[in-house]
Amino acid sequence: MTMTPTRLGWLVGFVIACAVPGLPLNAYHVDVLTTAGIYAVLALGLNIVVGFTGLLHLGYAAFFAIGAYTYALLSVRLGVPFWLGLVPAIAVAGVCGVLLGIPAIRVRGDYLAIVTLGFGEIVRIAITNLEQWTGGPNGVLGIAHPRVWWPGGTYDFGVASTPYYCLVLAAVLVVAVACSRLADSRIGRAWAAIREDELAAACCGVNTFQAKLLAQGCGAAVAGLAGALFAAKQGTITPDSFDFVLSVMILAMVVLGGLGSVPGAIIGALVLGTLPELLRGFDQYRMMIFGVVMILMMRVRPQGLCGGVRLRRQRSVSPQPLHVSAAA
């Protein structure tokens, strides 16, 4: 393999990330980085939907919640261990992504944003009110932490911060590789074609209905993974961790990094995940500085840190709406 600048960038980033546990950092720092890592997984997943396929999604936190609650309930009610619980968490979130995709597929652009926003709120409110299953506003308590076995004993992740950091780092790596591979495949090109010009994509033989559902499903499945990691790390989850602000935050990470860019999503998540903590010294000016940074970014580099694509308004070929076949 030749060493391109992109590969070198990945390698440097990976080495730094691996060195973190060896640095003289306290548990708080590692914890902030772990949370940023979970954000990175979320941003990578949302990037599939918004960046690759160009479908604006404002309710992404819902899938994060679905993944987290799936693992949390399986763990608390049935005693399912973390590694086994990952599979249903990913699967349930992915299926929910596809199910939301079916009705949402007929609307585009701003309307899609409104539908997904509504979905995000419905999920959060449903979780809050389904008290007998989800514990309502009190959330789910006593979720099992991950545990590893080897001949000679078991190790429980407990409340230490470093093991979670390593786990999340591995998840970021796996998801990033998966996203890069997808982007550079037949499926990824079909997604990009839909983002660029849906009608032209359809006329090239891309089944836009299927491809969009697939993108929604893949994106949601990644959020399910992040949710299970989050639930296992926290040990306790409540519905207010999955609000609209989180959905917007993740979207901001994707846009900041550059729509459609895999390293961009990670960098965006790291910046927005750690910036509020780095600015703690500024006390009450913290959020103001945060806002100024975001505005400056939009002015100076609207394509994002890693130079992503820019979404355009949908155009139509004729005065009549595109005929969409339901038979797909």
């Binding site: 998966a178 591979r181 997808l182 495949s185 037949r186 499926i187 990824g188 090109r189 079909a190 990009a192 074609a193 983002r195 660029e196 010009d197 009608l199 032209a200 994509a201 359809a202 006329c203 090239c204 033989g205 891309v206 089944n207 836009t208 209905f209 697939l214 893949c218 459609g260 694509v309 820019r310 070929v317 004729s318 005065p319 009549q320 595109l322 005929h323 969409v324 076949s325 038979a327 797909a328």
Partner: protein, 257 residues
């Protein structure tokens, strides 16, 4: 004469009160180059949109195929493309943020199968297919003379190149029928000549072409047959020479004396 490949039967499409197409019937035979001409607003692009299922006609049928002819009305645009009809657009619609090569690779979508799992696992079959698709796309870029621009972003190409890119993208699905919507619009005379030669070469390789233009002089030399539309109606259909002297065509283009 060879057998019919595309048959339109009494195709009708209205936009509000305007009849964009009224009872248009038309046959395109295999290995033919048919020119579809007519003044602005005659319904040429609407006809293309009805054939490629972008629009659904109110009445009429679109039958396509070599031996058993398939009904296309009611299919999705993607299904039509998979059947073997590829098209270009009047106002260029290349995938602007993708590379030239990627644009053509999207065109090869119906000829490839790799799904999510084979992409994630980089399975040997997916790898083989990808290699094939890349070679196929590069060959087509050579056919249209864009091989040197393969890695460029499509939006950075000059206008005339983008038109050629759209043709390469359309060819990537190995279509039986190619629909070209004003391929010569905005091209200079040299570029038009290159395009004409390309269309003829493609026909010689076995492709059937239906092309729209409103410049009669451009289409005359390449087309085996010309169909003239005016106000959504077919007013003439025949060999170039006959069309040129048809009084109704002259009237549609020049007005009544």
């Amino acid at each position: 004469m060879s057998q019919p490949l595309l048959e339109l039967l009494a195709l009708t499409k209205h936009f509000g009160g305007v009849a964009a197409l009224s009872d248009v019937s038309l046959t395109v035979h295999e290995h033919e180059i048919v020119g579809l001409i007519g003044p602005n607003g005659a319904g040429k692009t609407t006809l293309f949109n009805c054939v490629t299922a972008v629009l659904r006609p109110e009445r009429g049928a679109v039958r396509f195929g070599r031996n058993q002819r398939q009904e296309l009305v009611g299919l999705s645009p993607a299904d039509v493309a998979t059947c073997g009809i590829a098209r270009t657009f009047q106002n260029i619609r290349v995938f602007a943020n993708m590379s030239v090569l990627e644009n053509v690779l999207v065109g090869a979508h119906p000829r490839t199968q790799a799904g999510v799992w084979s992409a994630l696992l980089r399975s040997p079959s997916a790898h083989r297919e990808e290699t094939w698709a890349q070679d196929h796309a590069m060959n087509l870029l050579e056919v249209v003379g864009l091989e040197a621009a393969a890695t460029q972003v499509a939006s950075s190409l000059p206008f005339g190149f983008q038109r050629r890119l759209e043709i390469a993208r359309a060819l990537a699905s190995d279509p039986q029928l190619l629909l070209l919507d004003e391929p010569a619009a905005g091209l200079n005379p040299t570029e038009k000549q290159t395009l004409l030669q390309l269309v003829q070469r493609l026909r010689d390789q076995g492709l059937t072409v239906l092309l729209i233009d409103h410049d009669m002089r451009f289409v005359m030399p390449v087309c085996d047959r010309i169909v003239v539309l005016d106000y959504g109606q077919k007013i003439a259909d025949g060999p170039s020479a006959a069309i040129q002297n048809d009084p109704r065509v002259i009237e549609a283009y020049l007005g009544k004396s």
